[in-house]
Symmetry: C2
Subunit: 394 residues, 2 copies
C-alpha cells in the first residue's frame, strides 16, 4: 500500500463479539479533512449511521472509529448512547471535538453494544495510532468476508504525487443503495469540496450502487471519503485535466473495491458482469440489469453452469423495463445465445456452457429499442451462501 500523507491507523482487540481478533479500529488524519459520505437509504438505520449523518453535515472529519462484531442497529436509545459515548471516547483521546468523529459499526443486529469492553479498549486504540496500517483496518472490519479489500491509485498534479486509497467490507446483504458494506476512502490530495462531493457521489453510483449479491440492503451501509490535502498539491477543481485525473483515480479505487466485494460475495464461485444495452433510458437499463443480477433462478443457473438463457429473458420481462421480446438479444461473453428473442442456433447451448464454466464472464442483453446502457456486477447463488446465512450467528 502506498503512503498516504498525514493518515494514521490503529486496530485493537476489544472482544466485542468474541475474543481472538482485532475488532475496533481508527483511521485518523493529522489535520481536519474535507469529508463526504453516503449512508444506507433504509429507513431502519443503525445508531452510528444517525450520529455520523449529523456530524458529516460540517463537511469535515478528522477520525473514523469503526467496529465489527456488532451493528448497533435496532438498539434504540441505549444504542444511540453507545454510539455517542464511543465518539466521545475517541474525541477526548485525540483532543478534538465530537463532531470531527465519524462512527461505523458492522455485525449482528439487535444486540446492545458491550460498552464495558469498548471502554476498556481505551487508551490502547489511541496509542496504537503510531504503528497501525490501512491493511490492519481492512482486516478488522471483516465479518463474513474471506479476504480484506484494499485498492489504491497514485496520481500527480503540478509535479506533486498524491494517492487515493480505500478499504471495504461486504460479503452478504450486498445490494445497491447500498449494501452491508462499509467503505472508507482516504486521499492526501487537496480537493475543492464541491467537486469532491460530486465526483464521490458519481463514483459510488458506478461502483457500490452497481453491485448486488442478494438484494438485501443493510441498516449500516456507509461510504466515507476524507481528503486531508497533506500532499501539498494545488487544490484540484472540476472541469480541469487534474480534476479528470482525480475522478478517474477515485472511480478506479471504488470500482476495484466494489468488484472485490462481489468476488467475495457469500459463497460465490462466479463473478458476472451484466451489461444491458439498447434500453429506452438509463433507468430502464439499470432496472433490467438489476433484475437479472438479483434473480435467484439466474444466479443458481450460473452456479450450475447451466446455459438456461430463458431465465435471463424472464427476468428482463418482469423488470419493469420497456421490452419488445422479439428484439431481445443475449450474449455470454462473445457467444450469441439468442437473437430476435429466440435461440441463436443449435450450437449456442454447448458454446454458452463453455463460457459459464469460467470463473468470470460477461452477460450482455440488448433490448434493441434505444441507446441507453447499464453495467452491474453480481455473483452466483450457491449452497455455501445458504450455509453461511443459516448459521451466521452460531
Amino acid at each position: 500500500m502506498n503512503t498516504i500523507k498525514g493518515f494514521r491507523f490503529s486496530t485493537v482487540e476489544a472482544a466485542i463479539k468474541k475474543a481472538g481478533r482485532k475488532d475496533l479500529a481508527l483511521i485518523f488524519s493529522e489535520v481536519p479533512a474535507t469529508a463526504v459520505a453516503v449512508f444506507t437509504t433504509s429507513t431502519v438505520k443503525a445508531a452510528p449511521v444517525l450520529v455520523s449523518q449529523k456530524h458529516i453535515t460540517s463537511g469535515s472529519a478528522q477520525v473514523l472509529v469503526v467496529n465489527s462484531g456488532n451493528a448497533n442497529a435496532c438498539t434504540g436509545e441505549p444504542g444511540m448512547a453507545a454510539a455517542r459515548e464511543t465518539v466521545h471516547l475517541v474525541a477526548k483521546g485525540l483532543g478534538i471535538s465530537d463532531t470531527a468523529v465519524q462512527v461505523c459499526s458492522t455485525g449482528v443486529i439487535g444486540v446492545q453494544m458491550p460498552m464495558d469492553r469498548v471502554r476498556a479498549a481505551f487508551p490502547a486504540v489511541i496509542t496504537g495510532l503510531s504503528s497501525g496500517t490501512l491493511e490492519d483496518v481492512a482486516l478488522a472490519i471483516m465479518t463474513t468476508d474471506t479476504f480484506p479489500k484494499l485498492a489504491a491509485k497514485t496520481e500527480q498534479v503540478g509535479g506533486i504525487r498524491y494517492t487515493v486509497a480505500g478499504i471495504a467490507k461486504g460479503a452478504g446483504m450486498i445490494m445497491p443503495n447500498m449494501a452491508t458494506m462499509l467503505s472508507f476512502i482516504i486521499t492526501d490530495a487537496a480537493v475543492e469540496p464541491g467537486f469532491l462531493d460530486s465526483s464521490f457521489r458519481q463514483a459510488v453510483d458506478r461502483s457500490f450502487n452497481a453491485i448486488t449479491v442478494d438484494g438485501d440492503t443493510s441498516t449500516n451501509d456507509t461510504c466515507l471519503l476524507m481528503a486531508n490535502g497533506m500532499a501539498g498539491n494545488p487544490r484540484i477543481t472540476g472541469g480541469s485535466p487534474e480534476g479528470n485525473s482525480f475522478e478517474s483515480a477515485l472511480n478506479d479505487v471504488l470500482l476495484s473495491l466494489a468488484k472485490q466485494i462481489v468476488k467475495d460475495g457469500e459463497g460465490a464461485t462466479k463473478f458476472v458482469e451484466i451489461r444491458v444495452s439498447g434500453a429506452k433510458n438509463d433507468a430502464d437499463a439499470k432496472r433490467a440489469a438489476l433484475a437479472i443480477a438479483n434473480s435467484s433462478l439466474v444466479k443458481t443457473a450460473f452456479f450450475g453452469q447451466d446455459a438456461n438463457w430463458g431465465r435471463i429473458f424472464a427476468a428482463v420481462g418482469y423488470s419493469g423495463a420497456e421490452v419488445d421480446q422479439s428484439l431481445l438479444s443475449l450474449h455470454f461473453d462473445e457467444v450469441c445465445m439468442a437473437r430476435n428473442g429466440i435461440c441463436a442456433g443449435d450450437d449456442a447451448e454447448e458454446r454458452g456452457t463453455a463460457v459459464l464454466k469460467q470463473k468470470e464472464f460477461t452477460v450482455t442483453v440488448d433490448l434493441g429499442i434505444g441507446n441507453s446502457t447499464a453495467t452491474v456486477y453480481t455473483s452466483d447463488l450457491t449452497h455455501e451462501y445458504v450455509s453461511i446465512n443459516a448459521d451466521y450467528r452460531s
Copy 2:
C-alpha cells in the same frame, strides 16, 4: 374429489421433454363455460399466453389444453405457430371453434415445441376424455413440484349443490403478479359473468398474489376459471348471501392452492405466514410483507432456525414502506421478539428459536403508525433450492 357436473378430463404421454409420464392434458366442459383468466404481468410472455389472452376476451371457454415439459416461451413466430396449431388440433377434435380453446404450457424456456410429438398425441388425448380425472391433470402439469395440488369446496344455492374445484402447479419462480404457476379452477355453478370476474380477481389477489418463493415472475403464469352452470342452480349474483357463499368458496379454494404451492416451494422446509399490521396504507403493508418474504437473508435464517430478528427489521427498512423504527414490534407466533424497535428481553431469543423450530409459524410485524394490514406466505431458502435450480435442466 367431488364431482363437478359437465367437466371431463384427459391426460396422455406425448413425451414432450422425456418419456415416462403424462404431459399433455385437457379440461373440457360439455357446454361453453363463462370464463375469466389472469396472466403473467411480464412483458416477456410465452406464446400460449398471447394466444389465450386473445381468446379469453370472448368471456367464454370450453376447453383447456395444457402441457408440461416445455414453456413455449422465447420461441418467437415458430412458438406462436405451435400454440395456434395445438389449439386447432383440440378444436377440430372436439368440433368447436378455436377461440373456445385456452392453451397453457410450463417447462423449459427457449426451446421450440416438438410439434411432431404433440400431433402424435391426437386423437388419444381427445378420446381419453371418457376416463380422466382432475387429479390426473394435476399430476400432468407438475414440473419440479413434488406433489399434485388440488382443492375443492361444495356449497348450496336454492337447494342445489355446486362445487368449486381447482388444481395448481408451482414450485419455483413463485412471486406475485404472479408466479410460474398455473392454476385452473372449475365450477358447475351458474354465476353472473361480471360478478364471476370481480370475485375471481379479488380471490387471486388474496392468494396467488400473496405468495412468494424466490421473487421471480415467470413468462407463463396463468390462472383460469371456468363456470359452466351445469349444476342447474339459479344464477348467482353479487351482493347476495349466495354471492357471499360463492366468493367464500372461491377464496378458500384459491388460498388452499396458493398455500400448497408455498409448502412445495423448491426445497422448502418451512411454511411461514408474514403479517404486517399498523401500516400507513395497504400498499405499504404489502410492500413491507413482501420485502420480508423475499429477503434471502431472512429466508436463510428461517432455514437455519436462527431467531435473527434484526434481519426482518432490516427488510422492513428497505421495503419503501413508511417506517418509524422506534415504533416497530415483532412477534414469532405469540412470542414477542422486539418492541419499540429493540429486543423484547433476554429470553426472547430462546423462546423465538423454539417457534422457528416448528414446520409452520407466523411472523407478525406491527409498524405502529396506521391501520392497514397485509398477509403473505413464504418458505425458507435452503440448500435444496440451490440444487434444484442449478440442475433443473439436466
